[in-house]
């Protein structure tokens, strides 16, 4: 609070500004795009933001190789093409990719397990940046470790590029159940919970008090239909990331708009039924149970 009494009239990059940005995205859909043309389609469909990356997760799975930050020209092209916020993915631990993305003027960085990790022990020290970060999590402990590093927004990981919502459900339920459990503990038990969660005690106590994360919680990884998006909202997500689900489907523009509408009216089956009609082919899915451990992105991150 001391900063408010200084003679400097304005301060950028504060926690309020970083977390507050994510609050503005609530109830919205953030769409993976690889080109400016896709970004325009997403904006026209009502996306609250677009996520720039080199290849959508389904293509990363199909083509293999190392997945990296998008080409700066492509990121710049996307930033110039739309007026909505632009997010971009950096590899886990790749703080220089993050520095580059910040200098390109992206509005949010996703330190993402969908790209090939650059560090198998350390995540980016996110508090040091002016630009805010979103990170994935499979459970409450992982979410709190990311927040401790400076993440201003959390998304449940799911299993990206599969078109299969089962892992998104698993992770959202795990995070939400973890939060509810903290609410039942007394003061001494919270210290043990912090140890078990491998998360800072202050954050654990804050979640117990608030009954929610101190940052916005979105869902990601396998959402392919309007009904998928609506289910994740009913399970407690505050918004939705859709990756391959849109641009790997038969009619991206119409599917994108339908998912936006189903997210807003997630508790109204009549609307979800109406927008789900005539969408054409969804993306071809993958049964996560048959995915070998080495091809699961959700296990990346520590």
């Amino acid at each position: 609070m001391a900063e408010h009494s200084t003679t400097v009239p304005t301060t950028t990059g504060t926690e309020a500004v970083k977390r507050g940005m994510a609050e503005q995205l609530k109830g919205g859909v953030i769409m993976d795009v690889v080109t400016p043309e896709q970004a325009k389609i997403a904006e026209d469909a009502g996306a609250v933001a677009v996520m720039a990356l080199e290849r959508v997760p389904a293509d990363i799975r199909a083509q293999g190789g190392i997945a990296r930050m998008s080409d700066p020209d492509m990121v710049q092209g996307i930033v110039d093409a739309v007026s909505i916020p632009v997010m971009a993915k950096a590899r886990i631990g790749h703080f220089v990719e993050a520095q580059v993305l910040q200098s390109l003027g992206v509005d949010y960085i996703d330190e993402s397990e969908v790209l090939t990790p650059a560090d198998e022990a350390h995540h980016i020290a996110k508090s040091e940046f002016t630009v805010p970060f979103v990170c994935g999590a499979t459970d409450l402990g992982e979410a709190l470790r990311r927040i401790a590093e400076g993440a201003a927004m959390i998304r449940s990981k799911g299993e990206a590029g599969t078109g299969n919502v089962v892992e998104a459900v698993r992770h959202m339920r795990a995070i939400r159940a973890g939060i509810r459990r903290l609410g039942t503990l007394d003061a001494t038990e919270l210290f043990v919970a912090a140890k078990e969660l491998r998360a800072p005690y202050d954050l654990v106590a804050e979640v117990a008090r608030l009954g929610k994360l101190p940052v916005v919680l979105f869902t990601a990884g396998g959402i392919a239909t309007p009904a998928d998006a609506a289910m994740m909202m009913q399970l407690g997500a505050e918004g939705v990331f859709v990756g391959s689900g849109i641009f790997k489907s038969g009619d991206p523009a119409q599917r994108a708009a339908a998912i936006v509408q189903a997210t807003t009216f997630h508790d109204d089956p009549d609307v979800i039924a109406k927008v789900s009609r005539g969408l054409g082919e969804p993306m071809v899915g993958i049964n996560v149970a048959t995915l070998p451990e080495s091809e699961r992105y959700a296990t990346r991150g520590w």
């Binding site: 304005t10 990059g13 507050g20 992206v106 509005d107 936006v260 009216f265």
Partner: protein
């Protein structure tokens, strides 16, 4: 003694929860509005922060745009923060050419006027009608009022920095708009200013009804 005002929060997208939490602290009942029939039941409306292009598309798609315009024309008190200011503006700059607004405020609003997210900031703003210390204001990819018509009262401007003097809070009749997000800071004074407008209108209407009854 007039009844408790019912204030809707437009819940198509954005930081709806923060407004829903703030309004009851000021003695108003807060309800969400996503459909025309829900709009018909409120004494006032808050248009929250969020992504204005998304809100505009959903409002048009679900038949809310014309009812919102009619309600504003009828004098419904509306407060818009950030994206809400954009939704209330008659004219926009730096918006996609097809972006529609509810309108009603005779202003030209520039979207993302202060820059991108890395330029988002916190500052102090003096607001006319808000007593005491300046309001601690959080600006997130915020718009500003580039031009205000004659009937528009300027309530606040940025002081210092590259945007010194820019208009960030306005009022015209029962419409109030701010570029910043008082719903994020726990400072309820801007909402209190708005709820006062809502109460005054309720009292006037109750008085008008009572007057009619006396005539009969």
């Amino acid at each position: 003694m007039s009844r408790k005002p019912v204030v809707g929060v437009l819940a198509l997208q954005g930081d709806v929860r923060e407004h829903l939490a703030t309004l009851p602290e000021l003695g108003a009942e807060a309800v969400i509005v996503r459909r025309p029939e829900e709009l018909a039941g409120v004494d006032a409306l808050v248009v929250p922060g969020g992504e204005s292009t998304t809100m505009a598309k959903l409002a048009a798609r679900f038949g809310l745009l014309e009812p919102l315009r009619a309600a504003v024309a009828d004098g419904l008190p509306v407060y818009g923060s950030c994206a809400g200011m954009i939704m209330l503006a008659d004219r926009l700059l730096d918006a996609p050419p097809d972006q529609v607004t509810v309108g009603g405020l005779d202003v030209t609003v520039r979207r993302n006027a202060f820059g991108r997210q890395v330029d988002s900031f916190e500052s102090q703003v003096e607001i006319e009608g808000v007593a005491g210390d300046p309001v601690h204001a959080v600006f997130i990819r915020a718009p500003w009022v580039e031009e205000a018509g004659e009937g528009v009262q300027v309530l606040g401007r940025v002081v210092g920095g590259p945007a010194d003097g820019r208009i960030v809070a306005v009022r015209q009749g029962n419409l109030v708009a701010t570029s910043f997000h008082p719903e994020l800071t726990g400072d309820r004074r801007v909402h209190a200013l708005f709820v006062d407008i809502v109460r005054r209108r309720l009292a006037e209407r109750a008085g008008a009804v009572a007057g009619n009854e006396e005539d009969q």
